[in-house]
């Protein structure tokens, strides 16, 4: 029994940060119709910035709680700035082109950011473990867990709820939904689509970077981080259905559980499992589990 509990808890912990990353990816796809390959780079960027912030705070002898807050704030600031800059300065030029072209533009951004992070932070692993002890250890049904890991679950649930609420129960959210649904119609109703694009993209970047910051204390930051994360988040949004918030949640939980289960039961199948699920979902429901059928032009 404990064994299954371990798998489920580990899976949920994995799912919590994966969900935040995937949420950003799915939001950007929903609004801008861009499958953002550079999304993983924003995750890595967030993780690196967080590490710098945490190290700077720790060097001044301040407690880790200050470091935790400082890392979230600095990441939020820098990530939104980077997101706005990229959308206004670069992506804007390619709107109206084929979606595969936009995919390649984000691939170019991925390549550039990959080296930029190497130039700034070097190629050696960086650690930022101070906030990891912040919430102590927790005993849960005879299992010992690091408090920080467990705290991630409610944090991501709260972020997910906030996004859902923002999209479905506020005026701005309804406008964003209108743009997702029919861009041309929203323009003719007076929606400033450009602004929605900029905000949605910046928000997507922010979510990826935030997930990076939240996981930074758990992992070692090194090159290759971004290409691993983007593949996982692709799998999640494809499983759930591109552009769907509920889908991202279900996809994240599935992938998190699959990863945890294969780590505990069959370590050699870890990578394999996730893509297998993704391929299977694509084969039988190419639109993902949570996407409605859309009309097509003949």
């Amino acid at each position: 029994m404990n064994f299954f509990l371990t798998i489920i808890l580990d899976g949920l912990i994995q799912a919590s940060w994966l969900f935040i990353v995937a949420l950003g990816l799915t939001l950007v796809f929903g609004v801008l119709k861009i499958l953002n390959i550079a999304h993983g780079s924003f995750y890595a960027l967030g993780a690196y910035i967080a590490a710098t912030a945490v190290t700077m705070v720790a060097a001044r002898g301040l407690p880790p709680s200050v470091g935790f807050v400082a890392m979230l704030l600095s990441v939020a600031l820098i990530a939104s700035a980077v997101g706005l800059l990229l959308e206004r300065g670069l992506l804007k030029m390619f709107y109206g082109r084929d979606e595969v072209v936009l995919l390649l533009v984000t691939y170019a951004v991925f390549l550039i950011l990959e080296d930029v992070t190497k130039l700034i932070w070097g190629v050696n692993p960086i650690y930022a473990t101070q906030p990891y002890e912040l919430f102590g250890n927790v005993e849960f049904a005879g299992l010992y867990y690091v408090g920080y890991d467990l705290v991630l679950i409610p944090i991501s649930a709260a972020i997910g709820f906030a996004i859902w609420f923002g999209l479905n129960r506020t005026v701005i959210g309804k406008i964003v939904l209108a743009v997702i649904h029919n861009e041309e119609m929203s323009v003719s109703m007076g929606v400033r689509v450009n602004r929605v694009y900029a905000i949605a993209f910046a928000f997507g970047v922010l979510l990826a970077a935030l997930a990076g910051a939240l996981t930074a204390p758990k992992i070692s930051m090194q090159p290759g981080l971004s290409s691993d994360v983007i593949i996982l988040s692709f799998a999640i949004v494809v499983i759930g259905g591109l552009g769907s918030v509920e889908g991202a949640a279900v996809g994240a939980i599935l992938v998190g559980l699959a990863r945890a289960a294969s780590v505990h039961l069959m370590p050699q199948a870890e990578l394999f499992m996730i893509y297998l699920i993704m391929a299977a979902v694509l084969m039988f429901r190419p639109e993902g589990l949570f996407k409605r059928e859309t009309a097509r032009r003949i």
């Binding site: 801008l32 119709k33 499958l35 390959i37 670069l90 030029m93 390619f94 709107y95 109206g96 082109r97 084929d98 979606e99 595969v100 072209v101 995919l103 390649l104 533009v105 691939y107 170019a108 951004v109 991925f110 390549l111 550039i112 990959e114 080296d115 930029v116 190497k118 130039l119 190629v123 861009e183 041309e184 290409s227 593949i231 692709f234 799998a235 494809v238 591109l242 050699q268 199948a269 870890e270 990578l271 394999f272 499992m273 996730i274 893509y275 297998l276 993704m278 391929a279 694509l282 084969m283 190419p286 639109e287 059928e293 859309t294 009309a295 097509r296 032009r297 003949i298």
Partner: protein, 329 residues
């Protein structure tokens, strides 16, 4: 290649480029070998892209070809370069034959994602298979040709260069003929509108499957070349960034000209080796900027530099983002 260029002229061109390798310095020789091998796989992507589908998982066939050749070479001691290319092409082709018809139903983003997923399944399997060396991979011996073995490294390099240029050259000629054929034109029509193609009595799925098979064969052969050039193979062959690079070459080339693929592949290798030399650690940055520049200023690839608007497609200023094209019928 220009529309009116005769196949015999093209064959002469291939022979000329092959002999030119005699006077090239050694470092250019291995560079050109890699460029020719990458051009071959990118050519496959261009063939497939004419149906409107971009494969982000050619690394799957690339790795399948490479591993197939490497395993057979180590098990039976088969080192002949030409035989290895054929085996690589066969491995890629067999896999393409199985996957192509399954995948032909999808289009746009979903096609790209599915190919990516399949190549990552393969990558995941390779990393974990200890019999194949896991993430370290394994080594293979030096290739020979028709019973001759080359001990002089320069001769060996030239042999590999010659084989890769000739194979890629002939693949290019075959592709040019294919592009002009009825089948090639039908492929272009699938990109424009697959439903209308079906109304005309052609099977869009079959057209995509056959193009996919061609791309897979090219990718498998290219994997064999990469293996022979490196004499080592590891799961990185199937990783998505490897596939991304091939798509990069294809985009650089555009889908109007076969010759452009070779030029693009060579340009990429030159950019890579020069930035490796002068800007170590930042060649991806250079590559990214290069790619953005090409997409921005040469939207139809470097092939559009010498082929003028034959198939100029008008893009309406208010074109809606083509989301609905992603849905499978």
């Amino acid at each position: 290649m220009r529309k009116d260029l005769h196949p015999l002229v093209m064959i002469a061109l291939v022979a000329g480029v092959t002999l030119f390798g005699r006077v090239l310095p050694t470092w250019t020789l291995s560079l050109a070998t890699i460029a020719a091998s990458n051009a071959l796989i990118a050519l496959g992507i261009v063939v497939l892209a004419r149906t409107g589908n971009v494969s982000f998982g050619q690394g799957l066939f690339f790795a399948a070809g490479g591993y197939g050749v490497a395993l057979i070479a180590n098990a039976w001691g088969l080192t002949d370069a030409v035989a290895q290319v054929i085996i690589g092409a066969a491995c890629g082709g067999l896999l393409g034959l199985v996957i192509g018809p399954l995948i032909a139903r999808y289009s746009g983003i979903f096609f790209g994602m599915l190919t990516l997923a399949l190549s990552m399944v393969f990558y995941g399997a390779l990393v974990k298979s200890t019999a194949l060396g896991g993430s370290d991979g394994f080594n293979v011996g030096r290739p020979s040709l028709f019973g001759m073995s080359f001990t002089d490294p320069r001769e060996a390099d030239f042999m590999l260069y010659a084989v890769s240029v000739i194979v890629t050259g002939f693949a290019g000629i075959a592709t040019t003929i294919l592009f002009r054929s009825e089948f090639g034109l039908a492929s272009l029509a699938v990109r424009e509108n697959n439903l209308r193609v079906e109304y005309l009595g052609l099977s869009a799925n079959r057209i995509i499957s056959i193009n996919f098979l061609i791309a897979a064969i090219f990718a498998g052969a290219s994997g064999a070349f990469a293996l022979m050039a490196q004499r080592h193979i590891d799961p990185q062959f199937a990783y998505w960034t490897t596939s991304g690079e091939f798509v990069f070459v294809a985009v650089l080339a555009g889908n109007q000209s076969v010759a452009a693929v070779f030029v693009a592949s060579m340009a990429l290798e030159l950019v890579r080796s020069f930035s490796n030399l002068y800007l170590p650690n930042t060649w991806q940055l250079v590559l990214g900027v290069f790619l953005l520049g090409v997409i921005l200023f040469l939207p139809r690839g470097i092939g559009s530099l010498w082929i003028r608007d034959r198939h100029k497609r008008r893009i309406p200023a208010t074109a809606p983002l083509t989301a609905e094209r992603g849905a499978a019928p």
